[in-house]
Every structure is written in structure tokens, then in C-alpha cells.
Symmetry: C2
Subunit: 353 residues, 2 copies
Amino acid sequence: MRVRVSPSAQNMNPQTTFDLATPALVIDCDALEQNLSAMSARHPGSKLRPHTKAHKCTEIARAQTKHGHTNFTCATPREIIGMAAAGVGSDFLLANEVLDARRLTALADVAKDMRVTIAVDSIETINAAVSAGLRDVLIDVNVGLPRCGVAPELAGQLADTARKADLTVRGVMGYEGHLMMVSSDEKRQQRVAESMLSLVRAAQDVGGEIISAGGTGTWNLHDNTGINELQAGSYALMDTQYAQLKLPFVQACFVVGTVISRSKDWLVIDVGLKSLSTDHGNPSVDGYDVLFCSDEHTTLVRKKDSGLPLANIGDKLFVLPSHIDPTMAMHSEAWVTRGEKILDCWKIDLRGW
Amino acid sequence: MRVRVSPSAQNMNPQTTFDLATPALVIDCDALEQNLSAMSARHPGSKLRPHTKAHKCTEIARAQTKHGHTNFTCATPREIIGMAAAGVGSDFLLANEVLDARRLTALADVAKDMRVTIAVDSIETINAAVSAGLRDVLIDVNVGLPRCGVAPELAGQLADTARKADLTVRGVMGYEGHLMMVSSDEKRQQRVAESMLSLVRAAQDVGGEIISAGGTGTWNLHDNTGINELQAGSYALMDTQYAQLKLPFVQACFVVGTVISRSKDWLVIDVGLKSLSTDHGNPSVDGYDVLFCSDEHTTLVRKKDSGLPLANIGDKLFVLPSHIDPTMAMHSEAWVTRGEKILDCWKIDLRGW
């Protein structure tokens, strides 16, 4: 006994955000444009290597190319393979260590037509690149975040090893992720400068032309650090954590939910842990405090100073995620809007690995 | 310039867990069977209405039917539509409030061949059910968790409203989610008894034959509460949060990662916030402490008392999620294993809404 899925189950052809089946990811196209413009004004062309891991969407990457950026940072082979297949971008950096022979071989296929550079931080990752037939690498240098990257003092030696294996060493990268949320501007600036000093010294030992680093939280702190490309990603869509830094980027991405239940003390919307990530704290909804998120729900209580009337069952509410990257990875599509009007639907087509 | 995706990029035909492209979700089939057996021994047949939201996988649901359960709990229309299309289960409860006319109409299509009952807790949800052509409802009663459900004292009145609208009221449901993690067994038992007292009183006002409640954390506390079906879901695969309760269910689901980087002080694996959920705390890895999780990575330091040697770059490590439900929703497939051997690949085919 097989049951057909009625086409009416699909989110067929919504005209406005009120028509959306929820939870639904929404991108405000004007806010996105504003963010892309603000970034490309300061870091034009190849000065920015936008990170696709923050959105996993070739249409957003395409918008970034229209702002002059054709070199991209990626976190997974899937992101590079998908970008290349979509014809978006021409120079890809896998800013991550990958050992998987099959995926690296697929990247070597892409590298026949486009430039593909991968980060290495060990003999093992160098050997994996060589075996797969890849040619271009960056030496990933640890600049203080306890994650990937070779110790700065060993970077030159690793570059020699890579060159002996006939790899082209294009330079270095380092990600000062531990400094993104240092709350004092002055302290953040100072610590970024210190961190980049170790990267630039490593770059002298390594050789090559690229010194790649940075993110949205340090986007304006690299004028004198010596890096020549910034790897920011979250700036395009933003989230409430980065909003704490008072950057010139605005919230461009929301999860729309429907009020499905209402008691005298709280509302429940159909947005939960499966449609947004809470690793950077609870999401935000204008006029409400979040009591808690569960798998399919978020319970909201009205802020004491809210002048807004309590929403009704069936009303749509816009939820701001606290962390954009893993939130994007939970959705297969995003609705592109201007005000209430829906203009387009973009696939989040770079998910997976 | 379009680039074809090489088939070698796919996780083609892995024979053992060592062959898996990572991150990869793995289900230990013997552990799963052990959990299903332990639960069905205590709650046979229709005494259990397994919750599909915990796994979103029709193959796991099929295994649950082999243990005698054919009535299922679902959190989304998609779960019911997918289960019905796969021919798994025959009586579905949407234990959640849904206002979406298109999805409810799709459920009414399913209800032509199978029994579909939906939870209602308001006039609005009753009206939505009627408009879509659905006939069977349960009154969702709030039993203490600040989420969905009508106040117990209003349940009878809402049932009358539903019946006047020609709906069949099959009974009540209530979810004591706020009590799942009460750490003292005695206190948990006592508070569940109190909570269910309000549900059973509401059931008397409502009428109908079903009194549905409970979850994995209260699976053995309902002998005398008066409920006649349990809605547990996490018991099948488990996670580290539920493991704190010393239940007779074992860990049956892992995310396998590869060590991609190693310094003298830590390891980095390619499992992060996009492949497991951390809303119930960091995941666990045998022999290691988790320093932190980021989008694509988890940094591990060796436990002081670990007798194990530090893993090497390229080694596979098994990561235990702290919260199974949102973790499952991040993966499109799970590899079914016995020891190191891979027996099957199951689609996580009930994702989405």
C-alpha cells in the first residue's frame, strides 16, 4: 500500500513570506547586497577570498563574483566541486586538511580546468595531495587557535618537504579564529597584530606569494598585518553573534516560523534545533525572549518592555540565528525576499562533504 | 566551463568503517536490535508508539515494526508522508501542531489509506484540521513543559469544540519533556506521576480511548500513571545525555571522524557543528576530552588517565553525539555496521518538514 505524495505538500509557489511553509530560510536580497558592497569596498577583487562554508550556496557565491571576487575559500571538497560545476569562481582554496583519497582525486579532476590549492600542515596531508595528483598547496600555520596548522617555526621545513615532493607552495594561511570575538576593539586589534606577526614570519620561511587569513570579526584589522587576502564568510548573511561586534554588516538571513500554539504566558513557533543552530546561544525574535529551543519548537515569552501585541496562532515570526554557518547547512533552500515579496528560491547546494 | 563530478568523489562501496569518507553516521545494528528488544519487552505492540523524529529513517522504523510496533508518533507532516510512502506503519500520530493548509491536505490524502491522527490544542488547529479534510484528532494537553498543549482544565471544552466540528476525538496526549532529565530516580517518578494525574483527569473530560505520553527518559515510570501508549524515540539509537540516566539502552549511533591534524598537545577530527548537534553539550570520544567544536572540526586532548596512545593523522575515531535527534537530521545517510564491517546504508529519508 503505497501513498503518493500530493504536490500540495510542497511549498509550491509562494508570493510573499506569509505564504511560506515553515520553518523557511529567508535571505533579504538588499541586506545581502549591502553587505557584499561594504566588504568589497574595503577588500576589492582578490583581496577577499570569500568563504563558502558560511553559506554553502552557489547563488550567493555568484553574487560575490559580481562584486569582483573570483577566488574562493572552501572548507570541504564538496564545496569546491559544487562551485566548479556551477561555473562560479576560478581559483579555489581548500582551507582545511583532507586525507580522503577519493575526494582529493575528485579535486585533482577539478584542478585540470581551474586552480585548486589545498592547505597542508603535515607530511601526511602532503603525501595525500601528491597521491591524488594535486599540485598547489598552502602551508596552514597555527596562529593561536588550537586547531589545524603547523607550528609557525616548522612551516619553512614543511614547505621544503612539499617542494621536494614536486608540489607548488603558493604561500601560507592562518586563521585567528580565537580572536574573532575578543570584545574590546583595541585588544582585538593588538592580538590580531601579534598573531599575524607569527604568520608573516612563517611566510618568509615558506615563500610563495599568498598570505591568507582573517574572518568577518577581524575584517578591518588587517591593514598593516601583512596579509594579502582575507577569508571572511559570515559577513554576507551575518548572525546575532557577529552583530555584537557592531560591524557595518546587517542581518540578511532569517528563519521564518509560524506561531503554532499560544498560552497566556508564552508562544510556540515551529523553528527549533533542526532548523537553526544554538551553539552560539539562543536565536533572537524581535519583541520576545527565547525561553528555550527544542527539536521542532522555540518557546517565546514577550519582552517586558515590548510594545507589540502578542502574536496570534498562525502568525509568522522572523527568527535571527546566532550562528549562520551551521544554520545554513540545515536547509536545502532559501527564499530570496525584498520586504514581504519573494523574488527567488536558491538551493543551498554545497551541503555535505 | 563546467566540471563533471568524478564518481570517485562518492563514498562508493566501503567495506569497513576504515573505508568511510568522513564525517559519516554509523549505526551499530546489534546495539539497535538490543535497544528495540529491551523496549518492546516492556512496551509491546501498541503500548509503544515509537517517535520517528528521533531518527527520521524509515529503515529504523521498519525495524521497529519487526518488533511489533505499527503505530508511530511523528513530529512533521513529512515524517508521516514518508513513512506512508515507504509502507512502514499503519497508524500515525502527528504529535505536533501544524497550521499549514497544504501539508495538512497532504496528510488528509494519506488518511484515505491509513489512520492519521493529529494533535490539536486550539480552535485554530481544529479549524485547520477540518479545512484540510482530516478527521481524527487528539487533544494535546500541557502537562508542565512550557510548550504546546491546552491547559488541562480546558481540554474537555476543546474536545467538545472538535466534536461539534465533526472531528473524531481519539483521546489525549501530553509530553512531560521537562521531567526527562530529572536526575533523582525517585523525584522523576514522583513528578511524572503528578504530571500524568493532570493528563488522566483531562482524558476523563475529553473522552476517547488514547492516553499517550512519555519518552525515553520516563520509559519505565508509567506502570501506574494511566497512560496506554508511550511515545519514546531516542531509546533506539541513544545519546550521551540519555546515557546519564543509566537506562538499559546502549549507544547505537556514532559519527565517525578522521584525524586530520595533530600537534603535540591536541588532535583535530573532521566532525563538527555541521555533523552533530551540541545543544546538549559537547560530544564524547573514548580516551579524549573535547576542547571545543567548530563548524567542521572538533579539537581533542588526551584524557590524563587515558592509557591509549595518541591517535595518528588518518586514524578514524568514533564520536558519540550528546543529542541524537538533531544530529540525525544533519545526515542524508547512515552506515549500518557490525563491528568494523559495513552491512548496509540507510537513507535518513524523513528529513525536512
